[in-house]
Structures are given as structure tokens and as C-alpha cells.
């Protein structure tokens, strides 16, 4: 659970940040440019961290199923529906022979007029628990991100303010952005 992923919800955007290192055996850094961002639809993306194999397998499975929905039904799933579908799959797989050790953050922008809140952010952990919040994080940075978020997040944040908050969190982790 070393690799960190962070999500911040702003006025009309979602900020998704991820740790690009892949470490092994607690001491070895294998990769500096890991991609943990998976596109679910035109307006929705997912960050996934955890067991490397599980992460890719589960994220691609969910992503492709959401694309399939669009092909079959001709309409795109809202971020809320994407997140619930993902959580459903996670909870289902947990109670079967093949469970995935993957923590996820799903962020998206709803293009439907009837949705009041357009920018939507959700966090799902490997046990299938889902929450919707303004600042979410998985991994070691969780301890810092949520605290900084509590202090600095406010309604109708601009992108600069969001990036500023992100910089502070990353500084706490002692990493370079």
C-alpha cells in the first residue's frame, strides 16, 4: 500500500494525482513512470493502486465493460453509475474465488442536465466500500491528504487552489512532483 493516489473535487473539475513509482520488496523501485490512470468514458476516469496485477486486470475489466455498455445502449454512463457498477463488481468478486487487491478513485463530470452536482468524485477500497467526498486518497498519502484536505478544501475551488493543495500534500510525502 505504498503507492499513493489522490483525488480532489473542485468547482467544475476533478483533480486526479498518482504516484508514478512501482516498488517491490519494500526497498526496490522498479519503475518511475507507472500509469495508474484508466479512462472509463469520455468524461470519467479511474485511478487504481494496490497489487500490480490485480490493479490492471480489474481496472481494464471495468473500463471495457463500461465501453461495452456504451456500444450496446448508445448512451454513456454517468460517473455515479460507473462508480456504483465498479463497486458492485468489487463487492461481487470479494465474495468469490477471485478477489482483487485494488483501491480505486473514480472521478468524472456529469454531462446530464438533471444532475445537480456536475463534478463527482468517489473512492472505493478493495473490500468494496464506496464513499463520495471532496478529497479522497489511498495509500500512504492517505494520512496526509485527508488532513490537508480538511484544512484547505473549500466550496467552489479553482484549479490553482486545487493544485496548490496537491503540492502541499506531495511535499508532506517528501516527493517531487
Amino acid at each position: 500500500m505504498v503507492e499513493s493516489i489522490i483525488g480532489i473535487r473542485g468547482k467544475d473539475f476533478i483533480l486526479l494525482a498518482q504516484d508514478a513509482n512501482t516498488t517491490k520488496y519494500g526497498i526496490l523501485n522498479m519503475k518511475f513512470d507507472t500509469n495508474r490512470l484508466f479512462k472509463l468514458s469520455e468524461h470519467c476516469a479511474m485511478l487504481a493502486s494496490g497489487e500490480p496485477g490485480d490493479v490492471v486486470q480489474f481496472a481494464e475489466y471495468v473500463g471495457k465493460n463500461i465501453q461495452l455498455y456504451k456500444m450496446i445502449n448508445g448512451i454513456e454512463l454517468s460517473p455515479y453509475a460507473c462508480a456504483n457498477f465498479t463497486r458492485h463488481e468489487m463487492a461481487y468478486s470479494l465474495r468469490s474465488r477471485n478477489s482483487y487487491l485494488a483501491n480505486l478513485i473514480i472521478g468524472g463530470f456529469s454531462t446530464n442536465d438533471s444532475d445537480q452536482q456536475k463534478a463527482q468524485l468517489f473512492a472505493i477500497d478493495y473490500l468494496g466500500a464506496m464513499i463520495s467526498a471532496n478529497v479522497v486518497a489511498h495509500g500512504f498519502c492517505q494520512f496526509f491528504a485527508l488532513g490537508v484536505g480538511d484544512k484547505l478544501w473549500k466550496e467552489n475551488m479553482t484549479l490553482e487552489e486545487g493544485l496548490h493543495m496537491l503540492q502541499i500534500i506531495v511535499n508532506e510525502l517528501g516527493m517531487f512532483v
Binding site: N73, G74, I75, N84, N112, S114
Partner: protein
């Protein structure tokens, strides 16, 4: 000639027809009619009731119109027992979607899934097709108010106004002439429905106990859909409105006829005068 190829539902005839499906459609054309009309601010579904015996127990259910989920309602034409199975399946489809995605299913999704099931009975399994046609009315956030029709073959289509069941061809030709695309309000749709039914029902006089009407409206502000059945009073009011209009038209027509016959007598009078 057809007899050889119609015992099994799942085979083609030499002319490339599926006889069992056609026979199912034939069964539906004898059943009570269902009529659906899409309006700018809602949808209307009407059903012609066939079971109107005074001995029937007054159970609080509808004979033809069923609610599938909060935003979707359907009307049945055909074998009622077949319909009950499919209605159950429709409700399950809606709920399974709600369980997975936590939001109401798009209308076309539900219709399309049921039609896939109906199609399976025309291709494999050796079972007969369902002898039911449905008219669905619903609202969803993607396409607003919608009206769909599905039949035993598993085909479905979106409609602005349509009819299935007994005398449906007559009804559809009336709808083609009288339905105004883009200008029909809910009130217009209700009046049109009564007009169509009074012409296609077998009875000479339309009464409130012979039809059922359900109306679906969606309130954008509260984001809630209401589906309600019109009660006997409202139905009688609509029928009375229609009958008043008809009698007015009749008296006007008679007046015009009277005028034209008067003109005829005056002209004949002048010619006889001339002859003298």
C-alpha cells in the same frame, strides 16, 4: 402447405417465414386494443377492457396497465398469462440495473433486454413465442418521454403514437391523420385517445368501464415521475366532452344539409316558373 412448417416455432418455412411468430401476432390482433400517444408534456396509455362482467371481484388492480418501475409503465395486448411472466421479467430487469448502477434504467435498455428474451423463443428451445405485444411509456434523463412497442418476434420500435390489438389498423390510420407532431399536449392526447377508441371499439357507445387510461408525467423540478390511472369520473368527463363535440358537429352538419336542400327547392321553383 403451411401446416408442415408451423408445428415447431424454431424453423423457417420455405418462403422464409416464421409461422409461429405470425400466428402469435394473429392471436394478438383479436385481443383488447392498447393505444399509446406521446405528448409534449407527458405520455398516455389506454387499454380496451375485455373482462367487464359484473360478477368480477373488485380487486384494486388494472387489467391491462402495469407499472414496471418508477418511470416506466406498460400496457398489455394478448394472452394475459404470458404477459404476467414477461411483466415479472421486465421488473427484474429494471431492479437488476438499479442494483448495479444505483440509478433508474434507461427505458430502451429495459425494452431491448426483454425483446432479446422474446427473440430467444423464436430461435431455439423448441418453445412457442409469447403471445403478447406491449406498449411501454416512460421517462428517462437521456431521451425524456418515450413510447415503445414490442411484439412476439422480439422486434421493438419507438413511436409517437401507435396501437396494438383489435382494430389497430383503423386506430393507426386515424392517428396518422389526427396526431400533430410537436404540438400535442397531454389534454390533446387524451382527447385523441377517446376519439380513436370510440371509433375502434366494437360497442356502439363508449363508456368509462370499457377503457383504462394511464398518464405519465415527469416533474423536472422535483425529478419525480408520476404514473396515475384516470378514475371513473375523469373518464366519464372525457367521454362526455367527446360526445358533446360530436353532437355539435352533427347539428352543424344537419344545418348545412338543410341549407343546401333549401337552395335546391328554390332553383327548381324558378325553372318551373320559366317553363310557364
Amino acid at each position: 402447405m403451411a401446416r408442415r412448417y408451423d408445428t415447431r416455432a424454431t424453423i423457417f418455412s420455405p418462403e422464409g417465414r416464421l409461422y409461429q411468430v405470425e400466428y402469435a401476432l394473429e392471436a394478438i390482433s383479436h385481443a383488447g386494443a392498447s393505444l399509446g400517444i406521446l405528448a409534449e408534456n407527458g405520455v398516455v396509455l389506454c387499454g380496451e377492457k375485455r373482462n367487464i362482467s359484473p360478477l368480477l371481484d373488485d380487486v384494486k388492480y388494472s387489467e391491462k396497465i402495469y407499472k414496471i418501475h418508477e418511470d416506466l409503465c406498460c400496457s398489455v395486448s394478448g394472452i394475459t398469462s404470458d404477459a404476467n411472466i414477461l411483466i415479472n421479467e421486465l421488473r427484474m430487469i429494471g431492479q437488476r440495473y438499479l442494483l448495479t448502477y444505483q440509478e433508474p434504467a434507461p427505458i430502451e435498455y429495459i425494452v431491448s433486454r426483454l425483446c432479446n428474451i422474446k427473440q430467444a423463443y423464436t430461435q431455439f428451445g423448441g418453445k412457442r413465442p409469447f403471445g403478447v405485444s406491449f406498449l411501454y411509456m416512460g421517462w428517462d434523463k437521456h431521451y425524456g418521454y418515450q413510447l415503445y412497442q414490442s411484439d412476439p418476434s422480439g422486434n421493438y420500435g419507438g413511436w409517437k403514437a401507435t396501437c396494438v390489438g383489435h382494430n389497430s389498423q383503423t386506430a393507426i390510420s386515424i392517428l396518422k391523420q389526427e396526431y400533430k407532431i410537436g404540438e400535442t399536449t397531454l389534454q390533446d392526447a387524451l382527447r385523441l385517445a377517446i376519439r380513436v377508441f370510440s371509433k375502434t371499439l366494437d360497442t356502439t357507445k363508449l363508456t368509462a368501464e370499457k377503457i383504462e387510461i394511464a398518464v405519465l408525467e415527469h416533474d423536472d423540478k422535483s425529478n419525480k415521475t408520476t404514473i396515475r390511472m384516470l378514475n371513473e369520473q375523469e373518464l366519464q368527463q372525457l367521454i362526455k366532452q367527446y360526445e358533446d363535440e360530436q353532437s355539435k358537429l352533427e347539428t352543424e352538419r344537419q344545418k348545412q344539409q338543410g341549407q343546401s336542400s333549401q337552395q335546391q327547392t328554390t332553383t327548381s321553383g324558378t325553372t318551373s316558373k320559366d317553363k310557364k
